[in-house]
């Protein structure tokens, strides 16, 4: 279970970043005031335009960066102060996190299994299962630099899941993947959900969210504009699909979004 309350994240901008924005302010509030809860056995979707604050929210959740205000609780562990325990609970995937392309899938996966303190036998077991599921097995001894984009992404998913975490946070997991690979990923997420895992994904692909998520939060400019099941969101916006609901909310909020 994940509980986020009044999360706020403000970045101090470097001189260069400061000069790059028009109003020359020293701070950038990427996430303003966000609260939501994700249950076990649930896939929760964060939907928002570029620069809405999705990745920032998820980075705070993964303890990579520290929230400016608010609290985060993951399966009973307090966000940053119990970072080590939180990280044991979760898998985090985002496109800025990369694997060293010098090594092979097998070595890389084992390396991360070991950092998670897993016994060798368990690592092998998990690795073989995940490699088989995602079709990495034939490439287990190929240098990562020689893998296709899709295969690299699948390997990243394998590595993030090696320790069989209870909480799965995937930031745009299907971006850049062809529909076959994308389907393999979404299918696996459904499988994990049915195992009772807590799952958050972020995406700007409405059809992915519609098909996959039990509940959705639409986030713009660092705030949640609407949250609930698909039906609840349709009811709120008076639309019958996520695309139109999204634009309805976007226009209502004045159409501003910081990119």
């Amino acid at each position: 279970m994940i509980q986020i309350s009044n999360l706020k994240k403000t970045f101090n901008l470097s001189k260069k970043q400061m000069l790059a924005n028009e109003d020359k302010v020293k701070f950038k509030t990427a996430v303003n005031n966000i609260s939501f809860k994700v249950n076990d056995n649930e896939i929760f979707g964060l939907i928002g335009p570029n620069g809405a604050g999705k990745t920032t929210t998820l980075r705070c959740l993964a303890t990579l960066i520290e929230p400016t205000e608010g609290s985060i609780n993951v399966n009973g562990f307090e966000g940053h102060s119990q970072g080590e325990s939180v990280r044991r609970e979760l898998a985090f995937l985002t496109n800025e996190l990369k694997l060293d392309t010098h090594f092979t899938p097998e070595y890389t996966t084992k390396f991360f299994g070991r950092l998670h303190d897993m016994p060798e036998r368990l690592i092998d077991e998990r690795m073989n299962h995940l490699f088989d599921y995602f079709g990495v097995t034939p490439f287990r001894h190929t240098k990562i630099s020689d893998l296709s984009t899709g295969m690299k992404q699948k390997l990243s998913i394998v590595v993030s899941l090696i320790h069989n975490p209870n909480v799965i946070i995937f930031d745009e997991p299907t971006t850049g993947l062809d529909i076959i690979t994308a389907r393999a990923v979404t299918d696996y997420l459904k499988l994990l959900k049915n195992e009772g895992k807590t799952i958050i994904i972020s995406t700007h692909m409405m059809h992915v969210a519609e098909k996959l998520c039990d509940r959705i939060a639409i986030i713009m400019d660092g705030d949640i504009k609407a949250m609930g099941t698909l039906d609840e969101i349709y009811a709120l916006t008076g639309q019958d699909n996520l695309d139109d609901s999204f634009f309805q909310l976007y226009n209502n909020s004045g159409g501003v979004s910081n990119v």
Partner: protein, 401 residues
């Protein structure tokens, strides 16, 4: 085609000249560093030259003809110290650098000189210490002086041009006692600088890649997701870098040693050093390695901290270049240093290790001084290590955007 060529050329030049960092690293820094290093070198060489020239050579000897004593007195750069010294005491005093040169004339020198038409040539012996620049310089001055002396004698023998030979001059470098013989002076001056530069260069290329490179490529962030403490991650990197630096340290040291049979001709001060003449014991090597390890610790942590602050490999290169220059300057200062080392030097980081290495090689290593330098280096290493650990927790450092 020509138009496209121009468009591409312009874009490339624009790329370079609008990137402040590239301009600095490719144009400004090389210019400054070459200017700085060459001036430093020139200055240091000049200074040690001046030191040697300004030094008044102290000469001792026995049975010296009055004429030669007069010539020495007339030369302001030579001071003759009268006294009776037997050969062995004299040589010891020269090794201790109390005096610079010992000259010994055949007791029957003047008689033999007079009897030049019949008897054997009289002998002059000179002795200097190959460990001292001052002594070697005194040797050079005395040769010149004796040559002048020969000319005056020849002038007295006008008409007897067939007797051009006046005396036999035998100069020898003093045998240095086994326990502090060390290695040739020229080699001892050069090796610390070379080893130091190789250690830095070896750790630099790999350190930049493993820290700034991993940051740039996003692979270090993946590790931050594991339960492992961030300090442990940087710790592992520093240890592996140290191993790399230790290997390049050992290999560069071995490289220098292997080259001695071939390089001694131009490296060695006497021009004739052979490996068999080297007499460094296990304890000397231990002191040498302690000094090198001090360097390794500092270099690795300096490189780590600078690579962490940088957001890209390119940036790291720009930050580390000045540090590299400092390392080179410390090396040159040591190489061309005038030999006299003030006690303060043992507290100057980096330089102190170099001085110790040099002295160990000369057979004058001192464990106390080696340890002072080692402790100084360790303190700096630990400070930089904890700094890099703190940087790991800094959001601006780890996730600049």
């Amino acid at each position: 085609m020509f138009k496209s060529l121009m468009i591409i050329t312009k874009k490339e030049l624009r790329r370079v000249f609008t990137d402040k960092r590239l301009v600095i690293t490719s144009f400004v820094l090389p210019m400054l560093s070459i200017a700085l290093i060459y001036s430093m070198m020139g200055y240091m060489i000049q200074r040690s030259q001046d030191d040697i020239e300004a030094h008044v050579s102290k000469v001792i000897g026995s049975s010296i003809p009055i004429a030669v004593i007069d010539m020495m007195d007339a030369d302001e750069s030579i001071e003759f110290i009268p006294g009776a010294f037997d050969k062995n005491t004299a040589k010891e005093l020269i090794l201790e650098e109390t005096y610079d040169y010992y000259i010994y004339f055949d007791p029957e020198f003047e008689d033999k000189l007079m009897a030049f038409e019949s008897g054997p040539l009289p002998v002059i012996e000179g002795a200097y210490s190959p460990k001292s620049d001052q002594s070697m310089n005194a040797n050079y001055k005395m040769r010149t002086l004796l040559e002048e002396y020969r000319q005056t004698i020849l002038a007295e023998r006008i008409g007897d041009a067939s007797y051009l030979q006046v005396y036999d001059l035998v100069t020898s470098s003093i045998e240095i006692p086994q326990e502090n013989q060390g290695i040739d002076r020229g080699i001892a001056n050069l090796v610390p600088m070379l080893v130091s530069i190789f250690i830095f260069a070896g750790a630099m290329s790999i350190g930049i890649d493993s820290i700034a490179g991993e940051k740039e490529r996003g692979t270090i962030a993946t590790m931050l997701l594991t339960p492992v403490d961030r300090g442990v991650i940087i710790g592992g990197k520093v240890i592996s870098l140290s191993v790399v630096a230790l290997i390049s340290m050992v290999s560069s040291f071995i490289g220098v040693m292997i080259s001695i049979p071939f390089s001694a001709g131009f490296l060695s001060a006497s021009g004739a050093f052979e490996m068999s003449q080297m007499s460094l014991g296990g304890f000397d090597f231990l002191m040498f390695f302690i000094s090198m390890i001090g360097l390794v610790g500092m270099y690795v942590t300096i490189i780590s901290v600078l690579s962490m602050i940088a957001n890209s490999v390119k940036e790291a290169g720009a930050y580390i270049t000045p540090a590299y220059m400092m390392v080179m300057i410390a090396g040159f200062m040591n190489m061309f240093g005038s030999g006299t080392v003030s006690s303060m030097s043992y507290y100057i980081p980096i330089y102190n290790n170099l001085v110790n290495m040099q002295q160990v090689l000369l057979g004058d290593g001192d464990l106390g001084r080696v340890m002072i330098s080692f402790v100084t280096s360790s303190v700096i290493t630990i400070v930089l290590l904890s700094l890099s650990r703190n940087l790991m927790h800094k959001e601006k450092v780890m996730f600049p955007s």
